[in-house]
Symmetry: C2
Subunit: 259 residues, 2 copies
């Protein structure tokens, strides 16, 4: 059973995951971050010790959660010096066997969500993708996960990588479309809030319709007149113009070839 | 005061707008559509007469709402034969003066939302963008709008066109990103529902953070390793691969140049 946890990392995901675990009664014994400032900032919220030295990581925790950036993972692993530790990472695109030369019991605990430091999220419905090299440890991770979410899934490294890629499209790229919308409205002094109900409904529609059936707008009905006039309106933003054309073509292709 | 309304069109928007007006006690006297089938399908839901002939449009309504496709608007206008009619259209990208050779009193009544025939929408928070060639008629349209929504805005043709363009990015293009996510998951037999909380949170985040501050993921932190591995994973979908690279670059550019 997992009770005492060390969190390595103090970024967006580390912050929100630590808070969620702490609020459900888990003991966060230590927060490690490269800078003492960010370690302390998070540690004080979850009643943990802060550390900026991998040499000082406590050896007696039940679980070590590596929530560092993908680039930092290997260097951090090389400097953790207790081979009996149970390790998981929280990364979408890193295979579980990244741990295999470092410890005997390891896994992945990947909450599929977009996290910002300042926005509190409700973990209860966040899918947590779990993978482990041993069944017993997988059970421990499911038990831990069930304390913060009711949406747990056994997901292989290969599936998780695809989920991460799909998440980049559906979250980061969709959000970039919101950013472009905001820039366009600012040019004409129109309040971005006018788009909020549309953005919300576009996301909520998916509970009833799959995204292909839900598609609307000039590209899916191949309304060339509107598309040309939109492209013309974007003449001073060549990047947005190119993107407009490219995504419109992609929509048209998807809908004309496969439906 | 507007009480009796003729709706020209029976598509997604015409359907949802007719239902909303009807439910608030407005009298929908007639639904016109090119085919009797779609005119009747909507007409019977709002207790109206159906017609597929522009010659048979009733002349005594207080308002004629042209909710036809942009392409159909001009041909329909040319065949409406009563010059005293008060006309509005519901289109994002068509200027209000499209009506100026056809009637004296005209305007725009543009509900900024994505509509599907089968998904019922709550109009009460949908922004309705109103424009008219006469103040008195603008007032009538605001009064009508207030019966179905509390989110009314005076928006010029120029601003409305930009809103429509921004809506294509934030709705149609974002939705296309969802479609791509769904295709990617299907390849690995992963349930699309795993992405639903992420998609919802990405949209809801905007009530607290502007989209640029909310951005996360490999592109904004320029994590080349992940981006390369994602591009490699897309090698069998050259269109998605190109889109991945292009949108990632656009994210990186927006965030490196302007923040």
């Amino acid at each position: 059973m997992i009770e005492k946890i060390v969190i390595l990392g103090a970024g967006n995901l580390a912050t929100q995951l630590s808070l969620a675990l702490y609020e459900k009664g888990l003991e966060i014994v230590q927060i490690y971050s490269r800078t003492m400032e960010s370690a302390s900032e998070l540690a004080c919220k979850v009643n943990a010790e802060a550390s900026n030295s991998l040499q000082n990581i406590k050896a007696n925790a039940d679980l070590y959660i590596l929530a560092v950036s993908d680039k930092a993972m290997q260097p951090v692993l090389e400097r953790i010096s207790f081979p009996m530790a149970k390790l998981v990472h929280t990364a979408g695109s890193i295979p579980v066997d990244v741990f295999k030369n470092y410890t005997d019991t390891y896994g992945v605990f990947y909450p599929l969500q977009t996290f910002s430091k300042t926005r509190k999220v409700d973990f209860s419905n966040i899918p947590i993708c779990i993978e482990a090299n041993k069944d017993e440890f997988a059970n421990d991770l499911f038990e831990l996960g069930s304390k913060i979410s009711s949406n747990l899934h056994a997901i292989s490294s290969d599936q998780r990588k695809q989920l991460h890629l799909a998440a980049v499209f559906t979250c980061n790229f969709a959000n970039h479309m919101y950013s472009i919308g905001q820039e366009l409205l600012a040019e004409k002094n129109v309040d971005f809030n006018l788009l909020q109900p549309l953005i919300k409904e576009t996301a909520e529609k998916l509970t009833e319709l799959d995204p292909k059936s839900a598609q609307t707008g000039p590209a899916v009905r191949f309304d060339e007149e509107i598309m040309n006039s939109h492209e013309k309106a974007l003449k001073d933003s060549p990047d947005f113009q190119k993107l407009y054309r490219f995504v419109s073509e992609s929509i048209y292709k998807m809908h004309s070839s496969k439906n």
